[in-house]
Amino acid sequence: MAGMKCIACLCLCTFVLCAAEPAKEIFDRAMRDLAAADYQSAERGFQAVLREEPRNVAALSNLGVIYSRTGRADEAITVYRRALRLSPNDKAILLNLGLVYLRQEDHARALPLLARVVALDPQHLQARQLLAVCRAYLGQLEPAIRDFEALHAAAPHDENILFLLGFVYLKNHDSEKATAIFEQMFEAAGPVRAEFLRGKAFYEAALFAPAEESFLQVLRLDPAFPGVHLELGKVYISLRRNDGAVRELELVLKENPGDADASYFLGALLVQEGLYVEGIPYLERAKSAKPDSWAPYFYLGKAKLRMEHPADAVALLQRAVKLSPDDATAYYLLGQALEACGRKSEARQAMNRVRDLGARARESITFDDGRVAGTR
C-alpha cells in the first residue's frame, strides 16, 4: 500500500559469547558482507556459524533478512521460526516474520506476530500500523479503526496513517468519515498525491468506480505522476474494462519494461481472458523479478493447464501452493493438473486439501461458540 515501504532490514548484531575465535570472525565477516549487500557471501558465513552453533539466534535472524531480501520467503519463514523457538519474545524477529507473511498477503499468520510485538512494546509504531492493516484485511474493522484513530491522534499529519484510516472507513461503508480524512490528506500530502492516495484507498476498499475517478483526476493534474497508470490498469481489470486495462499497463511497460507489477497484472489479465500465449511472457518476467510471489506461478500454471501442458502446470502450481499454502484455488488447479497427468492419488490429495481449507475457512466464521445450532 502507498507509503508503507516496509522492508525487513533489521540486522541483529548480537554476538555469540561462547564461540570459538573463528566462529566470531566468520560472524563478523558475514555481518560486513550483509552490510555491503554481498548476500551470497553473507549467507555462506552465517550458515558456517550455524554449523558450529546451531542455536545462534543472531545468525538465524540475519539469514532470515538475507532470504527476505533475495525473495526466498519460505526459507525466511523457516529460519525466523527456528529463531523464535529459541528467543520467542524477540521483537525484531517477530516483526520481520510478520513482514514476510504480509508480503505473502497472509494476514492471518502475520497478525498474531505483530500483536505480540505490540504487546511487548505498545509504542512500537510500525508494528501498530501493520497490526491495524492486518485487522482491516481480516474484516476486523472496528479494532482496526480504533487502532488507526489512535495512531492518527498521535500523528495527525502522517499521510500513511491518513491513507490507512481513510481506507478502513471506506471498507466500513463510512463515507462521511472517509471524506473528512481525505480532506486532511489534501493538506498533508498536497492535492495530487492526496488524490492518488485516495484512489488507492478506494481501490483497496473495492470501490472501483470512484477509484477510477481519482486516478483520472491525478492524470489531469499531473500526467506524469508515478504509478498512476499502473493503478488505473488495476482498476480497469476490476471493472472488467479489459481494453483500458491493457492500454494502461502497456503504458507502464513502455516506460519501464522491467516493471514487475505491470508485467504481472497484464499477464494475469491475458491469462484470465484465455490469451495464454500472450500472457505467459509477462508472467515469466514477473516471476523472475519476484521469485517468491505465488501469483505469477498460479497464473502461469493456469495458462499451462488450459493449454493442455499439465506437466508444466503441475510444476508451477506446486510452487504456488508452497508459497501460499492456504490458497484453495491454487490447490484446485493443481488437482486438475495432476489429474490430467494421470497422477490420480496426488490429485485426490490436492482436492482433499481444497476440502480441508474450505472447512477451516467455514469454521473460522461461525457466529459463536457453536451454540448457534439447536433443534426446534
Binding site: R362, I365, G370, T375
Partner: protein, 579 residues
C-alpha cells in the same frame, strides 16, 4: 510492503458477507444474432385459476434466512388422465400463519383452467415447505409425493382415487426435525424400486442465531440483513433404501453419503453423469462446494465433486449454488449441467466432457453477460423446438429491505432466457420471448411442462407472496417436436433414471427422467424434444435397470408412451399443437 501482488480483486471470491459471490462484473454482450425466437410466453395464471398467493415470509422484510429461500413447485399427473396438474408448496410467517398458507394441489380441467382440490386430496398442510419430489415409490401406478420442510418431512401415498395419505410414520421416515431441502427419488441400486435421497440446508434455530445486522456477516453492502448461510452450522445428506414393503431404511452411513459434512445443500438431482448406467446424485450447495455422489455400483457412493469439476467455479471459487438444470445443450449425447448463483456472479454451465469430467464453459458459452440478479430455478428446455435446448432462469432478491438503500438491487426482478445459438453459445433474451419474461417477481421454484398439451414447453413459477406464474408458451414457426413418456416394468414404474437419446438430422440429444431439478421442483415426466426441421427421430432408451431398447423413426408431432420391454404402447397427437 503491501504491493498487492495478488489476483485482482474482481477475481477473488468475496468472503466478507454471508454468502459466496465471486463479485464479478458481466462480460461484454456481443451483437444480437437478429434471429427470430419462435417461443412466446404470456402469464395465464389468473385466468387459469391460480390466484392464491404463495405465503413465504413477509414481502417487505426477511428477519431470518428461512423466510428468504422460498420453495419448489411441481407439474405432475396425479390422476393419470394425461394432463398435467400442479402442486404448489407454501411457507408461512414467523409470528402467525396468515389464512390460506398451505400447499395446494390444482387439478387440470383440460380447458386451460385448474381447480384447487387441496382439501379433497388431503394435502392441506401448514408449515415451511421447501422441496418436492414426485415418483411412484410403491409401483402401484400412481405418483406419490415427498415434501421436505424446516420441520418434519412428509411422504404422501397417492391412493389412486384423487386422495393422498400421509404415510411418513408407517414408512419409517419420521425423524428429528431438520431443515431438509433438496430431495429426489432415485433407484440407486437398480432393484426396480425408488429410493429416497434428502439433502439438508443448515441447522437453524431462530432463538439462537444473531439478529439482522448483528454480525459483520449479517450485512450486505452496508445494509443490515438476515444472517447466513455463512456462519450458521452446515448440514449433511441422507439416503433411504426402499425396502419394498412400504418402508424405508436409513442407509446414510453404509452408503458413504454420510461421510460428507459441512454443506449447505439445496437442489438435488439424480442422473447418470458419467454414463456408466448407474445414477449419481448432484447437490447444488450454497456457499460451499457442490457435491457429486458417484455411484460405485455396490450400494455405496464416492463424493467426487471437486475431482469431476462441478463443485466450484473454473478457478476454484465457491459459489452460492441454488438451482440445477440437467440436459444436453451441445447435442453430444452427454448430460451437461447449469447451476444458478447469487448476484454479482454468473450462472455456470458445466459441459460434460465424458468419463465423468466436466469443464466450466460459462464465459465461452456467453452466460457471463448476466450478473445482476439472484438466480434460482433453471431449466434446459427447447422452447422454440429448433432442436437445441435453451436455458430459462427465474430470479428474485433475498433482501427486500435492501432495495430502498440500494435501488440497483430491487427485490423483484425479471426472468430471462438464454437461447441456444447452436454453436456452443447462447444469447440472452428478455422481451423478445414475450411479456411474461420481463415481468418482475421474487421467484424461486420453477417447473417445465406442457400443461395445455399443445406440443411445446410451458413454465410454472413459484413467486414469494404472490400467486404462481403460469407462462403459456405460444410457439410459432415450423419446427417439429416429439414427447416421450416412459413406463417402467422391471424398472421403477415412473422410469426415474431412464435415459432417452433422440437422434435427428445428424444430431443426438440425451435427456433423463428426473426426480427433482430447477430449484427444489419437479417438471413434466414426459421428455420433450424439439426436432427443428426433422420430421422423425430415432430413440434409444436406457432403462434404469440397465436394459436398452431402440425405437427407430418415430414421427414428430406426438406423445409416444413407451413401456419397458414392449416398445410404443400408445401415441397421441395433441389437438392444438403443430407437428
Amino acid at each position: 510492503m503491501l504491493a498487492m501482488l495478488a489476483a485482482p480483486a474482481a477475481l477473488r471470491a468475496q468472503r466478507s458477507e454471508g454468502m459466496a459471490s465471486r463479485g464479478v462484473s458481466p462480460t461484454p454482450r456481443g451483437k444480437p444474432s437478429g434471429r427470430p425466437f419462435y417461443a412466446h410466453f404470456i402469464d395465464v395464471a389468473e385466468q387459469a385459476g391460480l390466484r392464491a398467493p404463495v405465503i413465504y415470509g413477509y414481502p417487505d422484510h426477511c428477519d431470518y434466512i428461512l423466510e428468504t429461500m422460498g420453495a419448489g413447485i411441481a407439474f405432475l399427473d396425479y390422476d393419470n388422465d394425461g394432463w398435467l396438474d400442479i402442486f404448489v408448496l407454501s411457507g408461512t410467517r414467523m409470528d402467525a400463519a396468515p389464512p390460506g398458507a398451505t400447499n395446494r394441489l390444482y387439478k387440470n380441467n383440460r380447458d386451460g383452467t385448474f381447480t384447487d382440490v387441496t382439501e379433497k386430496a388431503g394435502l392441506h398442510r401448514l408449515g415451511w415447505a421447501f422441496g418436492v419430489t414426485v415418483g411412484d415409490y410403491d409401483n402401484d401406478g400412481f405418483e406419490d409425493l415427498f415434501v421436505t420442510y424446516w420441520g418434519q418431512n412428509v411422504l404422501y401415498h397417492n391412493n389412486g382415487d384423487g386422495t393422498f395419505t400421509d404415510v411418513t410414520k408407517e414408512a419409517g421416515l419420521l425423524f428429528p426435525e431438520r431443515w431438509s431441502s433438496g430431495c429426489t427419488w432415485v433407484d440407486y441400486d437398480r432393484d426396480g424400486r425408488l429410493d429416497l435421497f434428502v439433502s439438508h440446508y443448515l441447522k437453524f434455530d431462530p432463538k439462537r442465531i444473531p439478529k439482522t445486522g448483528q454480525n459483520a456477516l449479517c450485512n450486505w453492502k452496508g445494509v443490515p440483513v438476515n444472517c447466513g448461510p455463512r456462519g450458521l452450522p452446515p448440514e449433511t445428506q441422507q439416503l433411504f433404501h426402499n425396502e419394498g414393503n412400504g418402508t424405508f431404511k436409513d442407509v446414510t452411513e453404509s452408503s458413504g453419503i454420510g461421510k460428507i459434512k459441512g454443506s449447505y445443500g439445496l437442489t438435488s438431482v439424480a442422473a447418470d453423469f458419467n454414463d456408466d448406467g448407474w445414477p449419481d446424485i448432484y447437490v447444488a450447495c450454497d456457499s460451499t462446494p457442490s457435491v457429486l455422489f458417484t455411484n460405485n455400483h455396490d450400494r455405496t457412493f464416492t463424493e467426487e465433486g471437486l475431482e469431476t469439476g462441478i463443485a466450484l467455479s473454473e478457478d476454484g471459487a465457491e459459489q452460492a449454488g441454488m438451482g440445477v438444470a440437467v440436459g444436453d445443450y451441445n447435442l453430444d449425447g452427454r448430460l451437461d449441467i447449469v447451476k444458478t448463483h447469487f448476484a454479482e456472479d454468473t450462472p455456470v454451465l458445466y459441459r460434460n466432457e465424458g468419463k465423468g469430467r466436466f469443464n466450466d464453459v460459462t464465459i465461452r458459452a456467453g452466460l457471463g453477460v448476466e450478473t445482476r440478479f439472484v438466480c434460482w430455478g433453471v431449466g434446459l428446455e427447447d422452447f422454440d423446438n429448433d432442436g437445441y435446448p435453451d436455458i430459462f432462469v427465474v430470479t428474485g432478491s433475498v433482501y427486500p429491505e435492501a432495495q430502498s438503500k440500494l435501488p440497483q438491487f430491487p427485490h423483484r426482478t425479471p426472468r430471462f432466457i438464454f437461447r441456444n445459438l447452436g454453436d456452443g453459445r447462447f444469447e440472452q433474451l428478455f422481451e423478445e420471448a414475450g411479456p411474461a419474461i420481463v415481468a418482475t417477481h421474487a421467484s424461486r421454484g420453477v417447473a417445465f411442462g406442457d400443461f395445455d398439451n399443445d406440443g411445446d414447453v410451458d413454465i410454472l413459477v413459484m413467486n414469494q407472496n404472490e400467486p404462481p406464474s403460469l407462462l403459456r408458451n405460444d410457439v410459432t414457426g415450423n419446427n417439429h417436436w416429439l414427447k416421450v413418456k416412459l413406463i417402467g416394468t422391471t424398472s421403477n414404474r415412473s422410469a426415474i433414471g431412464a435415459r432417452v437419446t433422440a437422434k435427428y438430422g445428424g444430431k443426438q440429444q440425451a435427456r433423463e427422467v428426473l426426480g427433482q431439478s430447477a430449484f427444489l421442483s419437479v417438471s413434466d415426466r414426459r421428455l420433450h424434444f424439439g426436432l427443428g426441421a426433422n420430421e422423425t427421430a430415432d430413440l434409444e432408451i436406457r432403462w434404469p435397470n440397465g436394459a436398452r431398447e431402440s425405437v427407430p423413426k418415430v414421427a414428430a408431432g406426438q406423445l409416444v408412451t413407451i413401456k419397458e420391454g414392449a416398445g410404443i404402447v400408445n401415441s397421441q397427437k395433441f389437438a392444438a399443437g403443430r407437428s
